[in-house]
């Protein structure tokens, strides 16, 4: 057979594949370098043009801590009934704030990055995940302030508390990413979603034992807290309080028995599993919606 085509200048060894990414979140971890650049870009953009820059990420939680200390602890007199109430609130606030930030910024992430989404083939899960990491970045200054406050209050850290605390953070990371994924894609189609998420954040703030102790819920509902505890963020908040607040009280064993639900460790494991299930659902929703994202971003 005569070969009329000349020998090609270049032979590419790679296989013929569809040009878009197909592995969802896994793809994001394969592109860690881009993810890192996106996160850095986001952090840089947030403090762009401000003189204090990153110092703001310390000032904000610090002032919040003092506000809660005065309003809740001194004005409302909660401090008399719950020991170190400001720490109780602040430990919860770190988780709540992180979760809300992830959800809010994540929801807007794809719409905000539309110039990238419309012109370049990046795995789009990248954007909500980057939002979560940016929020996570701001958790660390808050934890530092929390540790300083608890140390002043006479903190005695225990290994079990630390383990539970880490699980608590993992729960809020997983659930935050899941909701950010789902809402970011939905927000492309209906901008109402970002407003709805705002409403949802109010429920998050008051639906967790942050401004009130868990005991109060147990007493009011006569111990029927099963439904309340089904919300993984409740466990995440309790976990952080278990890690930082319990050790700061004068009698940790008593505080743990009184203001923490029994079997907190297993409750946290369950909450983590629930969050992972939500993440799986979110990923499949995202993949379904993603096909039409570029054409609907106007």
């Amino acid at each position: 057979m005569a070969t009329e085509t000349p020998a090609p200048l270049r032979t590419v060894q790679a296989p013929l594949t569809p040009p878009w990414s197909q592995q969802g979140l896994l793809e994001v971890f394969r592109h860690r370098y881009i993810l890192g650049l996106l996160v850095r870009r986001e952090i840089a953009a947030r403090y762009q043009g401000s003189v204090l820059g990153l110092v703001w990420s310390y000032i904000n939680p610090l002032t919040q801590f003092f506000i809660y200390y005065f309003v809740m602890g001194i004005l409302f007199g909660r401090a008399n009934r719950v020991q170190d109430f400001a720490i109780h609130v602040f430990a919860g606030l770190i988780i709540v704030h992180f979760f809300i930030e992830t959800m809010n910024a994540g929801t807007r992430s794809i719409v905000r990055n539309k110039s990238l989404v419309q012109k370049m083939a990046v795995p789009r899960e990248m954007f909500p995940v980057a939002s979560m990491l940016v929020s996570l970045f701001h958790v660390f200054p808050q934890v530092i302030i929390l540790v300083i406050a608890t140390t002043i209050a006479g903190w005695k850290p225990d290994p079990m508390g630390m383990v539970i605390g880490v699980i608590g953070l993992l729960i809020s990371m997983t659930l935050g990413t899941a909701l950010a994924l789902m809402f970011s894609a939905a927000n492309v189609f209906l901008r109402d979603v970002s407003n709805a998420v705002n409403v949802l954040t109010n429920f998050v703030r008051f639906g967790v034992p942050m401004m009130y102790p868990y005991t109060l819920v147990a007493i009011r509902f006569h111990g029927h807290t099963d439904l309340y505890l089904l919300n993984p963020i409740v466990e995440a908040v309790l976990a952080f309080q278990r890690a930082f607040w319990v050790g700061a009280t004068s009698n940790p064993a008593r505080a743990a028995a009184l203001d923490m639900p029994p079997h907190l460790f297993w409750l946290c494991i369950r909450a983590l599993l629930i969050s992972l299930a939500v993440l799986a659902i979110a990923q499949s929703t995202f993949s379904r919606l993603e096909r039409r994202i570029p054409e609907r971003l106007l």
Partner: protein, 263 residues
């Protein structure tokens, strides 16, 4: 014989939905008047073709004929509703000018981000950074936010990054619409170089002159359908783009004027 196809497009269709009414109020009014709530149109309609590695394709057609949509599907930005798109190796290129720059970031940061998205590692970007900056020729603006750039500078930087990726497939869509004459000439020369290195070139243009120069095969889209696939001159004739071409466009100046029609 070894399969050396670079791009495979098989029975690809893409429908866009046009929404007339977006709020509940608008929708209920439209329903009462029994108007259509949404309409769809076929942007790309059952298009099939193969491209061998190293071929240089000119994609032509009137505005709205589906060229950019087709290009976006080859680039992986959009997915077809039906049919298959397969590519081999790394794809780079520009889909419209100034692809995906972040206005708040400096030119330098944008180069790194853009290069990363086009598949370059950090080391690779660092190695090519000087070449990219030199090609873009933006001078001291490199460290100021790209939001302050002129549209020409914006496009130049975008093109400079894309052109330095060692891609197996290079897509170019209206890249020459922005940029002054020296830059256009530089781009064409660089694209010629890419073509000679064995990269598959996919070039969207209205300019018959530059297509004739760059490409060895032409695809013509008309209302989303592939109407012509073959020889460059016949393709241009098919589009009637050669009507006003009695006087041959041989000199550089006339080429440039011809390219001006890109806009």
């Amino acid at each position: 014989m070894k399969d050396n196809r670079s791009i495979v497009v098989r029975h690809v269709s893409k429908t866009f939905t046009l929404r007339y009414h977006r709020t509940i109020k608008e929708m209920s009014v439209a329903m009462m008047r029994q108007q259509e709530l949404a309409d769809s149109f076929l942007a790309v309609d059952d298009v099939s073709f193969n491209v061998q590695q190293g071929e240089s394709i000119g994609l032509m057609g009137l505005n709205g004929s589906g060229k950019s949509t087709l290009l976006k599907m080859i680039n992986g930005i959009m997915r077809p509703d039906s049919g298959k798109v397969l590519t081999r190796g790394r794809t780079a290129g520009l889909i419209a000018t100034g692809a995906g720059f972040h206005p708040q970031l400096t030119g330098r940061d944008n180069v790194y981000l853009n290069a990363a998205i086009l598949g370059m590692s950090e080391a690779e970007t660092r190695r090519k950074f000087d070449a990219i900056v030199e090609f873009a020729d933006i001078g001291r603006f490199l460290d100021s936010p790209v939001g302050h750039y002129s549209s020409g500078m914006f496009a130049r930087l975008g093109f400079a990054v894309a052109i330095h990726v060692d891609a197996d497939i290079f897509l170019a869509d209206e890249v020459l619409a922005v940029g002054d004459r020296p830059f256009k000439r530089k781009c064409l020369a660089k694209m010629q170089e890419i073509r000679e290195s064995g990269t598959t070139l996919f070039y969207v243009s209205h300019a018959a002159g530059s297509v004739r120069r760059m490409c060895d095969r032409v695809l013509v889209l008309e209302k989303g359908r592939l109407m012509f696939d073959g020889d460059v001159n016949e393709g241009i004739k098919f589009l009637h783009y050669d009507d006003d071409e009695e006087n041959a466009l041989d000199t550089e100046d006339e080429m440039d004027e011809e390219m001006g029609a890109d806009i």
